[in-house]
């Protein structure tokens, strides 16, 4: 089934759509008020819209052709289009052409969110009746497209280079208590605390290689444990682990 095959299914409207339609449909004429009377006005807005859209959209070109020929050949007086704009808002303006400063209520026109603009042709005087719940309808979707309206200004960016210091605040909260309770702080105590903390931070990163040459190397790190040949005292032979690892390595080799 290619493009030539068009399946038309019947559908019923749900409650929300019927409610929307019952508001939007009777007021559809109001949408065009600003175009008919405004400064950028035109006496036949929907005709003008179809004319310009037909130049670029192939299916709309086909619709325009069909409607023109239907008229000439006496099939239909005019295949008119009914413009609608959803979601419905009282005093709204049709956004398909020039947009006014003020909406139908005299308030500044604000376009909130995306709008669905619908141009429908009802064949043979058919109507949508939102009061009948289960009524089914059938139609052909000829074309759909998206339009965006540009603004008069654009946000650009100016980037500049400035060598700022690379120091960062410490990742730690330091709680300092005064070394002696003299009633108030001594500035030097505070400074010393900070220096001490930084010293501790440096010491935190000390590695065995760095104390290899110092006098304390026999004692540090103080992870010492006694080993005796005979188990006559409490002993802990760390070297035993070395043997286990050696045995495991041997196993792996095999």
């Amino acid at each position: 089934m290619g493009e030539q095959f068009i399946a038309l299914s019947e559908f019923a409207l749900d409650e929300a759509t019927r409610a929307e339609w019952s508001h939007a449909w009777p007021h559809r004429g109001d949408l065009l008020d600003h175009l008919l009377t405004g400064p950028a006005g035109t006496d036949f807005p929907v005709d003008d819209w179809l004319q310009s859209v037909s130049r670029v959209r192939e299916t709309m070109h086909g619709f325009e052709r069909a409607s023109l020929l239907a008229e000439v050949l006496g099939v239909d007086s005019e295949m008119g289009l009914e413009p609608l704009q959803l979601p419905y808002r009282a005093g709204d303006c049709w956004l398909a052409m020039d947009i006014p400063e003020l909406d139908g209520n005299g308030a500044p026109l604000s376009i909130e969110g995306d709008k669905l603009l619908l141009a429908t042709h009802f064949a043979g005087g058919a109507q949508l009746d939102p009061t009948v719940v289960d009524k089914t309808y059938c139609g052909i979707l000829l074309d759909e497209w998206t339009e965006t309206i540009p603004t008069r200004s654009e946000t650009t960016g100016l980037a500049f280079h400035y060598d700022r210091p690379n120091a960062e605040p410490p990742q730690t909260v330091l709680l300092v208590t005064p070394p002696e309770f003299a009633g108030n702080w001594k500035w030097q105590d505070l400074i010393d605390s900070l220096h001490d903390t930084l010293d501790f931070a440096r010491q935190r990163a000390v590695e065995p290689d760095q104390i290899d040459a110092s006098a304390l190397v026999t004692l540090l790190p103080a992870t010492l444990s006694p080993v005796t040949l005979l188990p006559i005292t409490a002993t802990l032979n760390f070297a035993f682990n070395n043997q286990i690892y050696a045995a495991l390595a041997e196993q792996d080799d095999e």
């Binding site: 035109t42 006496d43 036949f44 003008d48 179809l50 004319q51 310009s52 130049r55 670029v56 052709r65 023109l68 008229e71 000439v72 050949l73 398909a96 052409m97 947009i99 339009e147 965006t148 309206i149 540009p150 603004t151 008069r152 200004s153 654009e154 650009t156 960016g157 100016l158 980037a159 500049f160 400035y162 700022r164 210091p165 690379n166 120091a167 960062e168 410490p170 990742q171 730690t172 909260v173 903390t197 930084l198 931070a201 440096r202 935190r204 990163a205 590695e207 065995p208 790190p221 992870t223 010492l224 444990s225 080993v227 005796t228 005979l230 188990p231 006559i232 005292t233 032979n237 070297a239």
Partner: protein, 600 residues
């Protein structure tokens, strides 16, 4: 295999010491380094001192002779584009339409010679006119207008009408509408030439003046509907198959100019423009200034300056694997990873259709020092400065930002006309292959079909050709010249006037060779697209020359189409434009002379 002696009596063992022994000490030494860095790079969280220790190791506590910026002040000047110049004629520009339309738009091609084209658009305008006169109570004149501005009714056997009657669909349309509908295009052309809507209808007052006034409203509506710039010369260069336009934006130093010398249609953007020498009167706007707080610039994949901070993982500079020769990639990585944190950003809201120049920028730091920020591009010129994204053409420095007033998205029609210009190395010439051809009823069709239909119609007009009665035993057929399909329009290389070496391409025509044609000189096959008819429909037909270098080896494809977009305040802009692209290679039109073929 327990080699230890189990002490049964610990008291004896400890106090009598029957087996004196030495106590040795052994110890565990931690090795914080590994050949595998994966764990170290995980930045695992430990005690507070560890957090500080890592920060210290990463140099985050190092002091520098620098200060943080606190405020900045900027001064700039924005000049609007005020004029568009094409091929010597200038018109004012005030952003009524997007710049694409201002440059690209061509007059609506209503006719080919004396043949009316755009049938559907003519009819649609006719309907609008009928509704307009009906709305003011003059609907009764519709019949008179339909007679005055009628669609041509083609005559079946007339070769002059074969461009319609050879094509069933076009003929049906013309036959259906002629006499029944108003040709709104003809009415518009009449009013546009200075005529009145009522001319030739014999109306009397007050209908006469009412209809005439309405005619002006109608013509204005058509002009508003289909934009055509108010300039004598179109920006399209028929010799070079591209647009050429200059913009003028006067600033304090003079009429700053931008030039788009080789715009090929399609999407117009700032990079189509080059800054050229300032000409004309100066003007321009006053300096604007504002203060702002410098905000650190951030971009996707930018490393965070702090060690203990989570980073966005969407873009990972570390995963880029550059080759040793990818200098640009290496530069990008180095910039992104090393120098990212010294950049600041100021968002600026600027009007479109303007040239903006930053006059000055100062930054005040926490010590109250004010620092002048210079432009990255050196005034001394390109000899010692590196630049990207600037308007300068070679050898100049341009410091301005151009925001072209162009549309973000326009809808384009299918090609109304399409021509492939291709080199034919076999016949040593260039062909203009008409791929899409506009028909009189306003649709476009495939050039090959249209050409064949027209040829067949001319052939059928001659009638059946009797088979040669004389039997012969020849086994081969000699042809003086082979047939070429009618949509292949030849271009011949000729010498450019005043030059010994340069060659340009001139439009030529193939003869329409028909079997049994009695006329001594065959008709010429004429192109059916406006792209190739250029000059043919003038009162004195002019030759069409195309620069030889514009027909690339891969061929050149030129299309004409409608474009439609929305503009400021929702205005709809529709225009007819051309676009050039690279073609699809060489082709062979099948033209050959002195051919000997086996007889079939």
């Amino acid at each position: 295999m327990n080699k230890y002696v189990v002490q049964q009596d610990i008291h004896t063992a400890l106090f009598k010491q029957p087996r004196p022994t030495l106590v040795a000490l052994n110890r565990v030494e931690g090795r914080p380094r590994k050949t595998d860095f994966s764990r170290a790079l995980k930045a695992e969280v430990r005690d507070p001192l560890w957090m500080l220790s890592r920060q210290w190791q990463f140099g985050e506590f190092g002091g520098e002779d620098a200060a943080s910026p606190v405020t900045a002040k900027i001064a700039w000047r924005t000049d609007a584009v005020t004029e568009v110049t094409t091929a010597g004629s200038t018109s004012g520009y005030s952003e009524e339409v997007p710049l694409e339309a201002e440059i690209e738009a061509l007059p609506i091609p209503w006719r080919q010679g004396d043949r009316a084209m755009q049938g559907q658009l003519r009819m649609s305008l006719g309907r609008r006119w009928r509704k307009m006169i009906a709305a003011v109570g003059h609907g009764g004149f519709a019949g008179a207008f339909a007679a005055q501005y009628a669609f041509e009714s083609p005559t079946a056997g007339d070769p002059a009408d074969f461009h319609v009657t050879a094509h069933a669909g076009t003929w049906q349309f013309q036959a259906a509408v002629s006499g029944n509908a108003i040709d709104g295009g003809a009415l518009f052309e009449h009013i546009d030439r200075g005529g009145n809507a009522s001319d030739g209808l014999g109306l009397v007052e007050p209908a006469l003046s009412e209809i005439d006034a309405l005619g002006q409203v109608f013509a204005d509506a058509v002009r508003k509907q289909f934009f055509v710039p108010d300039r004598e010369d179109p920006a399209w260069q028929k010799r070079n198959l591209e647009y050429n336009a200059q913009l003028s934006a006067p600033d304090a130093k003079g009429g700053a100019a931008l030039s788009a010398p080789q715009y090929r249609g399609g999407r117009l953007d700032w990079f189509h423009f080059d800054a050229t020498e300032a000409q004309g009167a100066s003007g321009g706007s006053a300096l604007q200034s504002s203060s702002f707080l410098p905000v650190a610039l951030q971009f996707e994949g930018m490393p965070h300056t702090r060690h203990w901070a989570f980073e966005e993982g969407a873009a990972n500079f570390g995963d880029i694997a550059p080759d040793t020769t990818d200098i640009a990639k290496l530069l990008l990585i180095e910039f992104g990873l090393v120098y990212a944190n010294d950049w600041f950003l100021l968002p600026m809201e600027l009007p479109t259709g303007s040239l903006t120049e930053i006059a000055g920028l100062t930054v005040t730091n926490v010590f109250g020092e004010r620092i002048w920020i210079d432009r990255a591009i050196d005034e001394a010129g390109p000899a010692n400065s590196w630049q990207m994204f600037t308007l300068a053409d070679s050898g100049r420095v341009d410091k301005r930002l151009f925001l072209p007033p162009t549309t973000p998205n326009a809808h384009e029609s299918r090609p109304e006309e399409q021509v492939h210009l291709l080199r034919d190395e076999v016949s040593n010439m260039v062909w203009g292959l008409e791929k899409a051809v506009p028909m009189a009823d306003g649709v476009s069709r495939q050039g090959s079909e249209v050409g064949r239909e027209l040829h067949d119609r001319f052939q059928a007009h001659i009638g059946p050709v009797p088979e040669p009665t004389e039997e012969n035993e020849a086994r081969v057929v000699y042809r003086l010249m082979t047939d070429v399909a009618e949509h292949w329009i030849p271009f011949l290389p000729i010498r450019v006037t005043g030059s010994d070496r340069e060659v340009e391409l001139q439009r030529a025509a193939m003869p329409r060779l028909l079997d049994g044609d009695a006329s001594p000189v065959p008709d010429k096959v004429r192109p059916r697209t406006w792209l190739l008819r250029e000059g043919l429909d003038a009162s004195t037909p002019e030759a069409l020359f195309i620069a030889e270098e514009e027909v690339e080896r891969a061929g050149t494809q030129v299309t004409a189409k409608w474009q439609r977009c929305r503009w400021y305040n929702g205005k709809v802009v529709t225009w007819y434009s051309r676009e050039r692209r690279v073609g699809r290679g060489e082709g062979h039109g099948g033209l050959a002379f002195d051919v000997l073929e086996p007889k079939t």
